[in-house]
Symmetry: C2
Subunit: 371 residues, 2 copies
């Protein structure tokens, strides 16, 4: 995916320069416009170097000069420079929903500019790849700006090179999706698991802090993504976050995976809808029960990782109330204060866009070092 990786851990001056550019972009991205002098102070680089780097980025269009600020102080007034959010656009795709593939044109600030979607209609394997290409092509046509890259949140297990190792729903095994798309569109392509892009989206745009973050996506199934120490956790074989089939109740229902009582047998969206809609059922009680079970799964993870935030993403009407409360309570009951004191459990504010926005973050991080 993206550029050819430099071999080994060799560090060139060029790398240092890219790193410093990222530092400045990151600052502009997170804190908004600033003068060159401000950037120098924030980065520790000299004003000279910052001027040079800013000049380079101006000529590439990534930043633009915004003139002097309104208030005035002593000395020469600064020239503010800011991220030129629409200098380049990003094509972001969300393949996680069962019935459709959706995508968006996103700018550098993470704002969704236009959307598009195609129906899956049972497409599988090669057909599904072609459908992705079609969706991507239509989105490419929706922007006039140069495209920085393409980010994809795909279901299933995805390796770091952007090859989908296994995605049952789309019947993909060892499908080099990033390579296929890069070949067709000739832009850097980044592919990751949908829960992983979701956690990136939440991490970058979801008002989350700096500690460990876990996003739990509840849809047809249950998946999770983790950001630890500021970067995405991939896991030994790229299968981190696969908590949907952790057994929560050995005496529970039979699961499609042949085990009994997997988390997914109680927590998936369709399953929750069915149970809470049954006549004569105490819906809050059901949600509390499921939330407790979720909390039991999460407690050991919270304790082991000393997480800062857990975010539930999915149908808010199911996840937001008693379920969230019960999960939160259970985690605190089952771990020490030192583990749970710094923990927040909440629902996502980004809604259905988490995956698509996270896919854009994949590109921002990969190409500009911003996130």
């Amino acid at each position: 995916m993206g550029r050819p990786l430099r071999p080994q851990g060799k560090l060139l001056q060029e790398d240092a320069r890219r790193h410093h550019r990222s530092l400045l972009l990151q600052q502009l991205f997170r804190e908004g416009p600033a003068s060159r002098a401000d950037l120098a102070r924030a980065s520790g680089l000299t004003r000279v170097t910052v001027s040079d780097l800013v000049g380079e980025m101006l000529s590439e269009g990534f930043v633009s000069e915004l003139g002097a600020p309104a208030e005035s102080r002593v000395g020469k007034p600064p020239t503010l420079v800011g991220l030129a959010a629409d200098s380049h656009h990003i094509i972001a795709l969300d393949l996680s929903e069962t019935d459709r593939m959706s995508g968006a044109v996103v700018n550098l600030a993470g704002t969704v500019l236009s959307r598009h979607e195609v129906h899956v209609d049972g497409a599988e394997g090669e057909q599904a790849v072609e459908l992705v290409q079609q969706l991507a092509a239509e989105l490419m046509d929706m922007t006039e700006r140069p495209v920085l890259g393409m980010g994809v949140g795909s279901p299933g297990v995805v390796d770091t090179a952007g090859t989908v190792i296994d995605a049952p729903n789309l019947a993909w095994t060892d499908t080099p999706l990033a390579a296929r798309l890069a070949e067709v569109f000739d832009v850097p392509v980044f592919v990751a698991n949908d829960a992983n892009t979701a956690v990136l989206g939440e991490h970058t745009f979801g008002e989350s802090g700096d500690g460990g973050l876990m996003v739990i996506r509840v849809g047809t199934g249950v998946g999770a993504g983790l950001v630890l120490g500021g970067s995405l956790l991939h896991g030994h074989l790229g299968a981190s976050g696969e908590i949907g089939h952790v057994v929560v109740d050995p005496d529970g229902e039979r699961c499609a995976c042949s085990r009994t009582g997997c988390l997914e047998t109680v927590l998936s969206a369709p399953r929750l809808r069915r149970r809470t809609a049954e006549p004569g059922v105490d819906a809050p009680a059901v949600l509390t029960e499921v939330g407790t079970q979720l909390g039991e799964v999460l407690a050991p993870i919270v304790a082991a990782l000393n997480l800062h935030e857990i975010v539930l993403s999915g149908p808010a009407e199911l996840l937001g109330g008693p379920l969230l409360d019960a999960a939160d309570r259970t985690i605190r009951e089952r771990t020490m204060p030192v583990s749970s004191a710094g923990l927040t459990v909440r629902t996502s504010k980004l809604g259905d866009d988490v995956v698509v926005v996270g896919a854009a973050v994949l590109v921002l991080a990969g190409e500009l070092g911003v996130s």
Copy 2:
């Protein structure tokens, strides 16, 4: 701890050079002696640069020339250079045991050269700090070589600066242990939680692979350390790995922490000894039961992190047999194959030295970038 950190993320040429030095040292450390030309090929640097770096390290004593290898091929025979394991020594301390503090002089290859220990005898607070200083001083006297640094595995929660936030056994709260020792001995000092140093020791010297590694230490209590993506996980507030007080059985025994059925109420070493020694008790059955409970705690963690290896460290006669088997089995029963396929569960081969050797790794990593 160690050196003053450079401000911000600024990357100087100097940093690049240190990085490249580490690259070469790392290669020699892991693969043994090699010629300059070999190092150049392995690192991607040019022979010229490697020669220069090697020359520098020769003059500092970290590496030494070993002459030509036995077999001969075409061309000028290479001069092998190798890590000079005894050019510098490391003082490594293990404060995790309740009754004593132990320490060792360790060389750069991780070999324990001499040991020493002092009895705690109920020392607490400032007294305990002085005891650590005394132990360290005695170890400093046991080596003639320059001391690269001091590494300490301490019980309790330790922050990245080497301040012990909270260690009930020694009655330490916000005790700046690293700073205190650095002041007295004027060498770089690194302090980390004992479970964290243990996982570093295991990671570097325990024949473990490259994926995520978790070491579970069973002693008076239960703690864990995690290495993910090659580096130690600290957690939001430095409290990662605190799994001893995860509740495994809400109807279980009351724990000192005021909760009921914490993992420590069934898994601590004294507790296991007592239960298995009771007359008329089926010891293997007890161990299997506890192993199963441990497996239940670990399953969600394995699934979430896609770990590569779990290592149990502690009394082998208790942990090695039925307990390990039951934990292994339970994890596999309760997670998907994609999570558990790449997983190995085993006991540590480093025995009681894990913590002390890990403390040495702390110094190696901090000072030489080697691990």
